[in-house]
């Protein structure tokens, strides 16, 4: 008899995710992934100005901020035939890179690390040994015995205070934690360092987009102007700051994130054979080097891998009505043509139809509809998207830089290529691409400076800005690679207004419920076979789910009264 375990809320993610699994003989035998919050973005966007759409959809997610704005402006530009100036492309690339660096590092330390790092065990570490270990792993200067001993004292008094805050009820001491106390102490130290550092790299967004989270974008280019002779524009001072931020980011990634990733992964090599899940991978590609309309120039290649066949990369065309489709057999929606339909996003429909149990409930009706996420498929296939998919498509496309980076990590960990298809592989892929993106950011930065030196300062194409210049009917697709994977927005414009707008986002691909044929999506599929040592403590389930970096608000987007003064308390 299988035992049903419910994890709700899944924490250390963005959004509202519920996982139900059936466990038998200490292993997951079936899994159900449910998004439990919906907002109805598509319904809100209808009838609005397409040039405003980026600001609306950017609010799909504040963790992967900017990515929806980028996909949105690209969808409108695609519909209207706008090509953005090279500098705008470069600035968008720099913002893209800054997002990856911040988002991936925060995921590793603040959302994922506590699945591998036992905070309480760090109390037993020897600071001197920790220092020696840290210095053997990296040149990062903050590695003295005093540094670690101060941290340990701070941690001890924190624990002794009895107020454990975010660490309360964690799975400390669980048999699946394998790190020596010294590695745990390094992990905790860098958790705090990363929290400080992440504030810095996002300043790239602030410089070009005015704020972070949710910087500003613009259909036709970027809103900031370049003028090296003006304090009120992107000038030498601003550019120097961008350069410094990327330099420091690269140092942090190479001296802290990557060494920690390798050190921790070395103790969890068994997770290179757990959590593989689907065998199909999809990447829309991104980081154009010769313009968005030339996908062959992208740093991340576009393509599909089926059945883990790395000898063949298939093309993907999101405009083909037969390729990307969304289904709702297990989703709380209805389609005008019934539940059997698959709809291409240009013809997508968003109509709520909650048929689940009346809250409060203890179990979902998993044979029926059980999620606010729709189920997207590519030519009927369930696809995994994200860092692993990106690297595999690049690898199979013959991207030498990616091949080298992957090879280096596999060699250091002494694991075979097959170990990539796993929970550990997903987590390692995220680190590897962060390292690559840190390098690429500097290339883009150099190119931007070269353009400016040549007197090329244009940042916006405005010929098609006025809606009066648009055709009565237009359709577009904007693709990107969000940190969590393949992202696309489909827009239909009619009489200068949005007639239909659909987002199919990475976590919809990965976290969606199964389809009518019973094919599981990525989360559900990867959980099957995952060991569960203690059904009261779902640590292993969290490891695999977190390896995808769930972002559920995106995925379900899809969805004083008397005028007198105010409250006042004498004491608080």
């Amino acid at each position: 008899m299988a035992n049903r375990i419910v994890v709700d809320p899944v924490t250390r993610i963005e959004g509202h995710l519920r996982i139900e699994v059936e466990v038998k003989d200490g292993k997951v035998v079936d899994a159900y992934s449910s998004g439990t919050m919906v907002r109805g973005f598509e319904l809100i966007l209808k009838g609005r100005d397409p040039r405003d759409a980026w600001a609306f959809v950017e609010r799909a997610c504040g963790v992967c901020t900017t990515v929806h704005a980028l996909a949105s402006v690209r969808s409108v530009e695609d519909a209207l035939g706008i090509t953005v100036p090279p500098n705008a492309e470069l600035i968008r690339n720099l913002m893209f890179c800054a997002q990856y660096l911040q988002d991936h590092a925060v995921h590793f330390y603040h959302l994922h690390a506590l699945d591998w790092v036992d905070v309480v065990s760090a109390l037993k570490a020897d600071p001197k040994k920790t220092s020696e270990l840290a210095q053997s792993l990296s040149n990062w200067p903050k590695s003295s015995p005093g540094y670690f001993s101060d941290l340990q004292k701070r941690l001890t008094s924190f624990v002794e205070s009895g107020q454990l805050g975010i660490f309360a009820n964690g799975y400390w001491g669980h048999s699946a934690y394998k790190l020596p106390a010294e590695v745990n102490l390094i992990g905790v130290a860098h958790y705090l360092e990363a929290l400080e550092w992440q504030k810095e790299i996002v300043k790239v967004h602030t410089i070009f987009g005015g704020k972070n989270p949710h910087p500003n974008y613009l259909v036709g280019g970027v809103p900031c102007s370049i003028n090296v002779n003006e304090v009120n524009a992107i000038n030498a001072e601003r550019l120097a700051m961008v350069g410094k931020l990327f330099d420091d980011a690269q140092t942090f990634i190479e001296q802290v994130y990557i060494p920690d990733l390798l050190a921790i992964a070395g103790f969890y090599k068994d997770w290179g054979a757990i959590g593989g899940g689907l065998e199909n991978y999809m990447c829309y590609g991104d980081l154009p080097t010769k313009g968005y309309n030339d996908p062959t120039s992208f740093k991340f290649q576009r393509g599909i891998i089926l059945k883990r066949n790395l000898n063949e990369v298939l093309p993907v065309n999101p405009k083909d009505p037969q390729e990307v489709q969304e289904f709702i057999p297990h989703s709380w929606y209805e389609y005008s043509g019934g539940d059997g339909e698959g709809r291409h996003p240009w013809d997508g429909e968003t109509k709520f139809n909650y048929t689940g149990p009346k809250p409060p409930y203890t179990q979902l009706e998993v044979e029926q509809k059980y999620s606010w996420l729709k189920t997207p498929r590519w030519k009927g296939n369930a696809m995994e998207v994200g860092p692993l998919a990106r690297l595999l498509v690049a690898y199979a496309s013959g991207n030498a830089e990616v091949k080298d980076a992957i090879g280096g990590v596999l060699k250091q960990l002494d694991v075979p290529v097959a170990a990539l298809f796993s929970t550990l592989g997903r987590t390692a892929a995220r680190g590897i691409e962060t390292m690559l993106v840190a390098r690429w950011a500097k290339e883009f930065y150099g190119q931007l400076l070269d353009n400016i030196k040549r007197g090329e300062t244009r940042t916006a194409e405005t010929a098609m800005w006025e809606p009066s210049s648009w055709p009565a009917d237009a359709k577009g697709v904007g693709m990107s690679e969000a940190p969590r994977g393949a992202l696309a927005h489909w827009i239909v414009i009619k009489d200068q207004k949005i007639d239909n707008y659909q987002l199919v986002v990475p976590s919809t691909w990965n976290a969606s419920p199964r389809d009518a044929q019973g094919q599981l999506s990525a989360y559900e599929s990867s959980l099957v076979g995952t060991p569960v040592a203690n059904t009261e403590q779902p640590l292993e389930i969290l490891r695999t789910i977190h390896s995808f970096d769930p972002c559920i608000a995106c995925a379900v987007h899809i969805h004083d009264p008397h005028g007198r003064h105010v409250h006042h308390l004498d004491t608080f």
Partner: protein
Amino acid sequence: MGQPLTIWEHARLQGHSRRDFLKFCAWLTAAAGIDSSAMGDVVHALETKPRLPVVWFHFQECTCCSESFIRSSHPIVSDIILDKLSLDYTQTLQAAAGEQAEKALHDTMAKYPGEYLMLVEGSIPTGADGVYCTIAGRTALEIVKEAAAGAKAIVAWGSCASNGCIQAASPNPTGATPVHKIITDKPIIKVPGCPPIGEVMAGTIVHLLAFGTIPELDRTGRPKAFYSRRVHDTCYRRPNYDAGLFVESWDDENAKRGYCLYKMGCRGPSTYNACAVTKWNNGVSFPIQSGHGCIGCSEENFWDNGPFYQRLSNLPGFGIESTADTIGVAAGAATAVGLGAHAVLTFVRKRDVVAAHESPEPKAQE
């Protein structure tokens, strides 16, 4: 089990010197809009107060508020997350999940009735009996009522919790509702913005910690320290507006000189926020400085007051500014009329602010 540490003890343990600590207190005093003579009270409070139990809820939101909070620039502010508050429930950061996470929440509610601070990120959907947002099988509506009953006060983070934000935009498909329309018997501090500025969020929290009182609020429930001035009135590009110097098209010569973005739809004239003063991400920039108009993200219904690139004078309810639009015309007479009209508007807006300041309401520190 030891005694809970005070904030000063924590700061010292983390290697902060007394000088750093006092600098932090000075920053806080200034950031909270408190007279500098009260700094001694701030220092004393931070030296002696134990950690405050806090529960942070996520409903219909995008987590941008949490992300903004962890960007707050002052070095001690990040320590607040781990050390100054006892952040006992937060789906974004907490180690435990599922039942163990819910237990942490219920432990705090049981152990500190009437004492914990409740932070709400996101709106609460009321449509279809609340099924548009459930956590652990319970609706956000049920959760927010239960948790509010024992809360000492509530902070509504961001526009979602303060006014419903994007999911409440027309046609509000899920019945998204801000927290103050559901909870009416608790003090609620609204900190709107999409997201609010990290320093503003930290400033609000630290005010609560340091003084044990709610900061002085305006009549809509926002801390006056951060929301009493229009972006337009504090904008460094304002002299361009007054001189009739406007960006006319994206990336034109005027944009490259940093002229006023009013004609590109800037909502600075109708938005109350600290962006132009505090700026974003440790004072690096703010939307207007980086070339895009303000979209008014801290104002109620801002999503429905668009389109964003339509200048305010062309929008319903903003007729008073219409003559200001002619400022760019070289004719001197037009300029004079425009400035006059703008001055009237400014006066009308400011009158509210002035009235609020002059009202005989008790001040927080009294």
